[in-house]
Structure formats: structure tokens, C-alpha cells
């Protein structure tokens, strides 16, 4: 009796956390559309103002409202994040399923490529790729999606290997069902939860790396309002006592990333069969 009640509460708490994180992200996204570009006008009157009710995050050395800049920057970062996550999930799924179904040679090749990519230092590799691709959004998306697919590909490969020889798939084959039917009806439903969660957990990685790449100067150009640009510009002003330029955008970035991480984690736990009937 007591057992079931605590379990019930745990589940409820997880759901609340999930809803809270999603609502927070939605609110930030909405705000970034509502806030007008007017606030980004240069104004000599309102330069370097500390945080106040009028300018929640203060203003920068050109008089632009930092709250507006931060939210619009985050929106771009989220869009890049979504795109790069989808790309790397696609790469991972294709690689994983190919490795598991097309025999030993393909499997060995894919596994070798996975080991090769994992063995390389993440950030250095990403800088290299985005540099070759010419920087910008293209460089970041390519850099991130080509360096983040490996772990998910491994998961997909092992999942497919696990059920490829299961009895119900062999029976389906004995009915004369095509490989396409089996892939679509038996294998895909089995790996879909892993793919969805892999996608969500990839998100924070992508945003952080986009910020990191831009901060280091290999990512977006300075006029795009991305979170990495804001942070790297603000760094040069921190020594003059304008702490709000780096503090608020940094905190908001951490909050957004933690929210995504939260959603992914809670969904993973909620969708696990052993806990799904509590």
C-alpha cells in the first residue's frame, strides 16, 4: 500500500517536471517571437544600463536590450539544434540498421568508422569540419551532426541485432513476408523509442557545441544574434564590471539545456517497459 503510493508520487513528480520543462521552453520560444526588433536599435541614451525593470537583462555597449537579444539568440540556437539533431539521428539510424542487417563486411566497416569517430577528440574534430565547410550555420550543422551519431548508431545496431533472429521475425519470414514488411512492422516499432530519446538528448549537445564553436570564432558570423556570439562579445566587457552581459545569457543557456535534458531523461524513464505500468 505504502509502496504503491510512493511509486505513484514519483511518477507524478516526473510528469510535473516534464510539463514544467516543456512549458518553460515554449514560453521562451513565444517570447522570442513577441519581443519586437525595436529593442535591438542602437541608442546612445541607454548604453550599458544595469538590469532594471525596463531592461530585465540590462543593455549592452550599443544600447541594445539584452533580454531581447538573448531570447532571439536562443531561438536561432534551438532551430540549429533541431536541424542538426534530426540529421545526426538519421545518420545514426541508417548506419545502425545497415550494420545489423547487411552482413559481416558492412558491420565491420561501420563499427570501424564508429570507433574512428569516437576515438577522435570531439571539439577538435568539430572545429575541423566546420572550418572545411566554411563556417556559418552550414558548418555548425555539418560539424555537429557528423560527430554525434556514433553512440546512437551503436544502440540501434545492437537493438536490431537483438531482434533480427527472434522467433516472431523468423515466423514472419516463413509466411513469405518481404524484408521491407519486416523492417517496417517488426523492427521499426522496436527501435523507435530509442531513436526518439536519442533525438531529444542530442539537442542540448548541439546547442552547447554551437555556442562553443561560435565562442571560439569558428561558427556563426558576428552579426547573427546567436547565444555563442553574445557570450563571446560579452567576455571582453566582463573585466570592466558589466557582469550582466555574460551572466544572464549564460544562465538562460544553462536553463534551456537542462530543460531539454530533463525532458529526454524523464521520457526515457517513463517509456521503459519495466516502469511503464506503475
Amino acid at each position: 500500500m505504502i509502496m504503491t503510493r510512493t511509486e505513484h508520487n514519483v511518477r507524478k513528480k516526473m510528469l510535473q517536471l516534464l510539463v514544467f520543462s516543456s512549458l518553460l521552453l515554449l514560453l521562451l520560444l513565444l517570447l522570442s517571437f513577441i519581443l519586437s526588433d525595436e529593442n535591438l536599435r542602437l541608442s546612445s541614451a541607454g548604453k550599458n544600463l544595469p538590469p532594471s525593470l525596463e531592461h530585465l537583462f540590462g543593455t549592452d555597449w550599443l544600447g541594445r536590450d539584452m533580454f531581447t537579444r538573448t531570447l532571439k539568440g536562443l531561438r536561432l540556437s534551438l532551430a540549429v539544434g533541431a536541424f542538426a539533431s534530426i540529421m545526426s539521428v538519421i545518420v545514426a539510424t541508417v548506419m545502425g540498421i545497415c550494420a545489423a542487417t547487411f552482413g559481416k563486411v558492412v558491420d565491420n566497416t561501420v563499427s570501424w568508422v564508429i570507433d574512428l569517430f569516437i576515438g577522435m577528440p570531439h571539439l577538435v574534430f568539430m572545429i575541423l569540419i566546420s572550418f572545411i565547410a566554411g563556417g556559418g550555420i552550414k558548418g555548425i550543422v555539418l560539424g555537429v551532426s557528423l560527430t554525434h551519431w556514433m553512440s546512437l548508431a551503436r544502440v540501434v545496431r545492437s537493438e536490431v541485432l537483438q531482434i533480427k533472429h527472434s522467433e516472431y521475425i523468423q515466423i514472419s519470414q516463413s509466411y513469405g513476408k518481404s524484408p521491407w514488411f519486416i523492417a517496417r512492422k517488426h523492427i521499426l516499432p522496436f527501435v523507435l523509442p530509442q531513436i526518439m530519446i536519442g533525438f531529444l538528448l542530442m539537442f542540448p549537445h548541439v546547442i552547447l557545441h554551437e555556442a562553443a564553436l561560435t565562442f571560439l570564432g569558428f561558427g556563426l558570423s558576428p552579426q547573427t544574434p546567436a547565444i555563442g556570439i553574445i557570450l563571446s562579445e560579452a567576455m571582453s566587457h566582463i573585466s570592466t564590471g558589466k557582469w550582466w552581459l555574460v551572466f544572464f545569457p549564460g544562465v538562460l543557456l544553462v536553463v534551456v539545456i537542462k530543460s531539454f535534458d530533463n525532458i529526454g531523461e524523464q521520457l526515457r524513464i517513463l517509456m521503459e517497459p519495466s516502469s511503464s505500468n506503475k
Binding site: S166, E167, Y168, Q170, S172, S174, G176, K177, S178, P189
Partner: protein, 200 residues
């Protein structure tokens, strides 16, 4: 007209034969029992006969020929563990109609209730799942059925009911049936002929 295994032999590791020189045949309407101690290769032999794996030696022929690839296999194998033979992500209705749509009288013969079709596999017991597996195997094109320890994990009453229904259908459709079991008493009751695996 028969399912014939001629001089069959099989190994997983080279030259470590699980069985060798096995020849057997089952005619339509006949019930053949396969018995033997655990680990003597009964299940492997069943899989070879059903075409899931090909034998290393000898060949299996069906009514004088073989079966085509990518088509429905007229020799259907019923496994020991129904929970492994059913996709856990499918509802029972989909499981039942994956290969064909069974007539209501077959469902009735195996006491499959209408309300089960909407459930998930984990919501049914092993015995209930096994009935679905048997009905699935009774496709109109099925000519031979191999039952590999089909009712080993069921209680005596359910076992008796299931065998009664299956034997009736096999009689009326003239299906050949191979019963794999280590229970001599069961084999003695249902089989016309016996074959002992792993004896010479």
C-alpha cells in the same frame, strides 16, 4: 506425397554433429512422434524440417519438390515459448491476421475470445498465447505442422483440449503432423508412429 527428410545431418561447429543419418517421412493425415532425451537435437531437427535452417547433409523434400523462397512455407513450426513467437508490440488481432484471416469456427475450436483480440501479448497467459500461435499456423496453404514441445508448459486440462482440437483439424484437412516431445505418455496418446532421435 509426403514431407521427407533424407539422410539428414546437422552441426553448428564443424564436425561436431548434433545428429546424423536421420531419415524420416510423414504423410498427409499422419501423426509422427519425435522423442529423445534433452539436448539430443529434437528442436534442431524440427527447425531443419520446417526450413528455418538448412541441413549440412541430406535434404528435406516436400511432396517431391522443395518450397519457394519468399513465399508462404507449407510446413509451419509451432514453438515451445509462445511469448517469444509473438511480437510484443503488436495487438493480438494483428498477430492473428498477419498471414491470413481465420474463420470463426477455428477460433471457436481453440476457445479464443473476441475480447482478447484487442489486448497486448503481455496481457494474456502462456496457454492463451499458444492457442493464437496454433491458429496462426493453420493457414489454408499449410500442409504439415511441426509442434515443438507445444504444450509442455500448460496444465493437463488445457493440454488435452488443445490436442483434441488440433488433431481434429489435422484429420479433417489431411494435414501431416510431427509432434516433438520428451513426454512418452503424450506421444503414445496422439501419435500413429514414433521416431526416437539420438539412437544410433
Amino acid at each position: 506425397m509426403a514431407l521427407v527428410g533424407n539422410n539428414l545431418g546437422f552441426y553448428y561447429q564443424k564436425d561436431r554433429w548434433i545428429f546424423k543419418n536421420i531419415s524420416l517421412a510423414v504423410a498427409p493425415g499422419e501423426v509422427l512422434g519425435l522423442s529423445g532425451y534433452s539436448g539430443c537435437g529434437k528442436t534442431t531437427l524440427a527447425r531443419v524440417l520446417a526450413g528455418y535452417v538448412s541441413s549440412r547433409e541430406g535434404r528435406v523434400s516436400l511432396d517431391g519438390g522443395t518450397w519457394g523462397k519468399g513465399k508462404f512455407r507449407p510446413v509451419q513450426l509451432i514453438y515451445q515459448h509462445p511469448e517469444k513467437a509473438i511480437d510484443p508490440k503488436w495487438r493480438m488481432g494483428e498477430v492473428l491476421t498477419e498471414a491470413y484471416k481465420p474463420e470463426p469456427d477455428i477460433l471457436e475450436a481453440f476457445e479464443i475470445r473476441e475480447e482478447w483480440l484487442k489486448r497486448w501479448p503481455i496481457e494474456l497467459s502462456g496457454g492463451e498465447l499458444q492457442r493464437f500461435c496454433i491458429v496462426r499456423a493453420l493457414h489454408p496453404q499449410t500442409k504439415y505442422i511441426i509442434a515443438d514441445e507445444m504444450t509442455t508448459m500448460l496444465d493437463a486440462i488445457t493440454q488435452a483440449k488443445i490436442w483434441h482440437s488440433l488433431l481434429n483439424i489435422c484429420q479433417s484437412r489431411k494435414l501431416g503432423l510431427i509432434v516433438v516431445s520428451h513426454e512418452k505418455s503424450l506421444l503414445g496418446r496422439v501419435c500413429d508412429r514414433m521416431y526416437e532421435v539420438g539412437h544410433g
